[in-house]
Symmetry: C2
Subunit: 238 residues, 2 copies
DNA sequence: AAGCTTTTATGACAAAAGTCATGTTTTGCC
DNA sequence: GGCAAAACATGACTTTTGTCATAAAAGCTT
């Protein structure tokens, strides 16, 4: 499989402003810029594999990537869905461990790879950047704590409704009266994200559709009634 | 409720060697030492509350503490069980958020409180310490990713077996042929840790007892057969 | 020691969710 | 455009787990 490279200047990257690299000194940014490799990936290709050693950091310039763990029975659980501007693989890099998850392209992607030496150098000589990274990691951790608690005590229905609302935040395209989730996930992917079986997702989504909480638009989902969906996400007793 | 203080010198603390503070310069350590407040807590007392603003870092000198989230129905999910040498509350501090969880004393505890200013100062002027903190946080995150995936796809039985083995690592006291878990958790706490109902834990623990995987010793549990327990923790098909 | 509260235990039942089988639709590809 | 594969859908059934009721046991307090 041939690697299709592309070029982009970090300084000119559209996503710089919402990325962790925002605020780097020109020298630091150009150090990153001059040492990166940018590759185009097709849907289905893997960026890195669980159990392998990280050698650098991935920065998404375009497309979408899922990061997931596979259990013994081959059941997948999606930890994150990354979009342009997001970093991938820093967790394992900073904990000095092997990758704990696999990253696969969901929608054709353009991804820059930064060798760990360059990342670490910028990190070390730039305490402000370091602080931002720490903050980001700890925020992420707070999100994971929340999600764990939900996995522990919420029903699949509640979690699915919650996932729809969560993706609405990241991928929602506001319409007049509804929001299109600009991400094409298979029912299987939804199941991996929510932590359930594919059939259950199919049934529940079709329930939500019957209840006019959502509608289907090709492979994408339109959220029609976020408020009622939020009620579904919380608790039945409420 | 009166605060019972106590005194301890960080330099002389038994847990210094396994703590993040290990390796600090004498000056840094004494800065921490001179500005800390040490308080004794009784079982059931709270250290901090979900939704409140963190003002510093807690360092456990003795006892055990559970950190948990409460959901809307009042169901508890235990995120961590902290023991001597562990830090508490750094996540919210570093992400500059409110506490995402509540910390309650499980077994009478002695806990030192370090004002955030002092913690941040040491953190800022000491890149090696910073790096250790980051590494620790990212390792913790890896553990949480693993646990999330288990919550998503493992049965309660598997998770309970897994939790027994996990606590064996932290609290196991090796005997001739078995390991006593040196931590007294109620059935309700076990349920909060595993993410299930109290009755289910009661039933499963008594199953495990019938199968001679564990035995009860007062309020504590003795692991009789870690290997078979590990089989229970993994998958049925295996 | 008695009486209260909390914890542990057990049974019966209901609800939620997983699994398996099968069928239909969509998609990708030559 | 037609074929194969993948994705989606639905029904039937089983298993797991939660819930509620009740009771026994253990811990505290006076």
């Amino acid at each position: 499989m041939q690697r299709k490279e592309f070029t982009i200047d970090c300084q000119l990257c559209t996503h710089l402003k919402d990325s962790l690299f925002n605020g780097l000194t020109p020298e630091d940014l150009s150090r990153i810029n001059n040492h990166k490799t940018c590759i185009q990936y097709k849907k289905g290709q893997n960026i890195f594999y669980e159990g392998t050693r990280p050698t650098g950091l991935f920065c998404i310039n375009g497309g979408k990537v899922k990061v997931f763990k596979n259990n013994v029975q081959g059941k997948e659980f999606i930890l994150y869905i990354a979009k342009p501007g997001d970093f991938l693989g820093y967790r394992a890099l900073l904990s000095e461990e092997f990758y704990g998850a696999t990253a696969t392209v969901l929608e054709d992607a353009k991804i820059c790879f930064i060798q760990k030496e360059n990342f670490f150098e910028v990190l070390q000589k730039n305490p402000v950047f370091m602080k931002k990274v720490v903050k980001q990691v700890c925020q992420q951790m707070g999100i994971m704590e929340e999600r764990m608690a939900e996995l522990a005590h919420k029903s699949v229905r509640e979690r699915l409704a919650g996932s729809l609302l969560m993706l609405k935040e990241s991928y929602g395209m506001e319409g007049d009266d509804s929001v299109l989730l600009d991400i094409a996930l298979s029912r299987e992917d939804w199941a991996s994200l929510v932590g359930t079986a594919t059939e259950t997702v199919i049934r529940l989504l079709s329930d939500f559709k019957s209840d006019e909480l959502i509608s289907f638009e090709g492979k994408k989902i339109r959220v029609l009634d976020p408020k009622r969906l939020a009620k579904q996400a919380d608790l039945i007793v409420a």
